[in-house]
Symmetry: C2
Subunit: 337 residues, 2 copies
DNA sequence: CTGAAAGCGCTAACAG
DNA sequence: CTGTTAGCGCTTTCAG
């Protein structure tokens, strides 16, 4: 069944078919005024008849814009699969862009090779702006974007982006609050499984934890792990338990980490929240899946996405500076502490 | 800090700078032979000096190809967030395309408006081919793609795609096998929480279940729910339990559904696997998170993605027909049954 | 209101 | 080996 890929109709074909010039066709295509009703009708009919669909590459070339914006996810494999926040951010961004009739294209940077290709792709003019999720300090993609002067908005608070637009939550403040609240349930030895310290969010959550404990802070009580993942949470909690057997409270960097920690705690025979209270961060679907349900910090992931999208749109619209946007991240108290 | 977006350098600038013609520049850009070493060196230096990056819109226009392929996810909100398979498919596709130096662009179709915009976008020539995840029967995107004759590969087995390329697992056969095995543990009343019957995978899993039970099949024992989700699993299991209190085995359409069902079962005071055995489908991260760990069918999600990507690449390469690809989906037996 | 013509940045013949 | 010349399909002056 050789689906013969016939040549696609162009403005020229439409013009011919409608008996007008290409200029006029272009005018109706772009909804411009000063086209007679007759011409408009003839052209619209012709478009339908020949099955014309504008070629975006051509349009992008002349307009120097593509009506598409990219969302770059730069995460290790595992996290991308496990982190429900990313999908929510994506959906939030998509719906905001959709309203403005922009196409969202999600681009993933998995290997160094991907990073290179992506940097070229971004410079290619097929993307008008980008939303960058989980940038890391010194990230080559970030660098490429700022060098290009491509309109961009970051989700999170990377340290090296100057005054580029970004939307975030107050990780440090929220971490401080929830730690205080955890301590307030009468815990004496509260520790932390601290993940992703190479990321602003991870570092800030640890800082907030330290803030909260103030003078009571004991470095022994924090266990560092690389990723916001279930398995790292479990492994980290095990080590923490070995080192500090009398621990009675733990703040996990994320809900996934908390879920892993809970498993380790349970395997060690600790009851939650009786023996040890635990709190997480994100209020992702992990939180409700935990047993008991997790007390955590609500992260408005979809709003992060839509706010970032709007920030990019504003720049496309000529806005030259976007003040950092900070979204509310309330504590959700459930039964794990 | 007005980042003046200076005019980007073009081949012309490079040619001028290197003292050659644009044709020659183009030749080195595309790695073609018949360029003197001198010219090549001069051009490469010039490229670096003026910071030239080729404009993809222009190249796409003349080449009629963009080196980008789209992966369309057409899922309701909730599922996209909850389903780890999608992310794995995405990653698998990305790595296969990456090897061929193609850019993967993930496009999401959430609202009807998205669907329209997407159909236009696909026709625009900025995408050379598509991988379609979870198409539904009569899907307008599917229709647009086949009408366009755009190289495509489906993940799954939609019914109305003619002989379009697709890669899938044998949902029906695997469902049959795991149901038999569940029944083989001595269960007398085995039911099913059957999700997503509007999708080929959902319908096939139910068919496999019916196959396995043969004469013993009792329609009372299947409870239908709309989505492959935790919450639908829980709700469905509750109803099933009300209707058939003596149920002692259940096959859930997916791991997420199984996880929800387990919660319902537990709330009803049933022990697993003692009182009721339960099995799922997907072998996603849900499976290990369940307590006890879930027996399930392993779905090689990343391989589905990479195989689909290769199928699209083959078509781009001129291949005119791709036989359906069926991947292995072995049973993974754990402790939930 | 509309046609003609120029040109976006790049590649691809075709002569040299 | 290399320069010249046409376009790819679309928008946009600029004259009518």
């Amino acid at each position: 069944m050789e689906t013969e890929r016939r040549r696609r109709a162009t403005v020229k074909d439409v013009a011919l078919e409608a008996g007008v010039s290409r200029g006029t066709v272009s005018r109706v295509l772009n909804g411009q005024p000063y086209v007679s009703e007759d011409a408009r009708a003839a052209i619209e009919a012709a478009i339908a008849r020949v099955g014309f669909v504008p070629n975006r590459a051509a349009r992008s070339l002349v307009m120097q814009s593509s009506q598409a914006i990219g969302l770059i996810v730069h995460e290790p494999h595992s996290l991308f699969v496990e982190d429900p926040n990313i999908a929510s951010i994506l959906l939030g961004a998509n719906s905001a862009l959709s309203e403005a009739d922009y196409q969202l294209s999600c681009l993933i940077a998995d290997t160094p090779r991907d990073v290179d290709r992506l940097a070229r792709y971004l410079s290619g003019g097929l993307i008008d702006g980008v939303i960058i999720v989980s940038a890391r300090v010194g990230d080559p993609i970030t660098r490429a974007v700022v060098e290009l002067g491509l309109p961009a908005a970051f989700v999170g608070n990377p340290r090296d982006i100057g005054d580029a637009a970004h939307v975030a939550i107050d990780n440090r403040g929220s971490a401080r609050e929830i730690t205080k609240r955890l301590a307030g349930t009468g815990r004496r030895r509260v520790g932390m499984v601290a993940a992703a310290l190479d990321r602003d969010s991870g570092a800030d959550r640890l800082a907030g934890f330290v803030d909260a404990l103030g003078g009571d802070f004991d470095p022994q009580l924090v266990e560092r792990v690389p990723f916001y993942s279930f398995s790292d949470g479990k492994a980290g909690m095990k080590r923490l338990l070995d080192r500090v057997p009398d621990i009675d409270g733990v703040f996990a960097s994320s809900d996934a980490v908390a879920a892993g920690a809970i498993e380790a705690l349970r395997e060690a025979g600790r009851r939650i929240p009786d023996d040890v209270g635990i709190v997480g961060f994100d209020d992702s679907s992990w939180a409700l899946r935990c047993d008991p349900p997790l007390s955590t910090v609500h992260q408005p992931a979809d709003q992060l996405g839509s706010a970032a999208a709007r920030a990019v749109l504003a720049q496309l619209d000529g806005q030259t500076f976007t003040a950092p946007i900070l979204l509310e991240s309330p504590i959700v108290w459930r039964e794990s502490a």
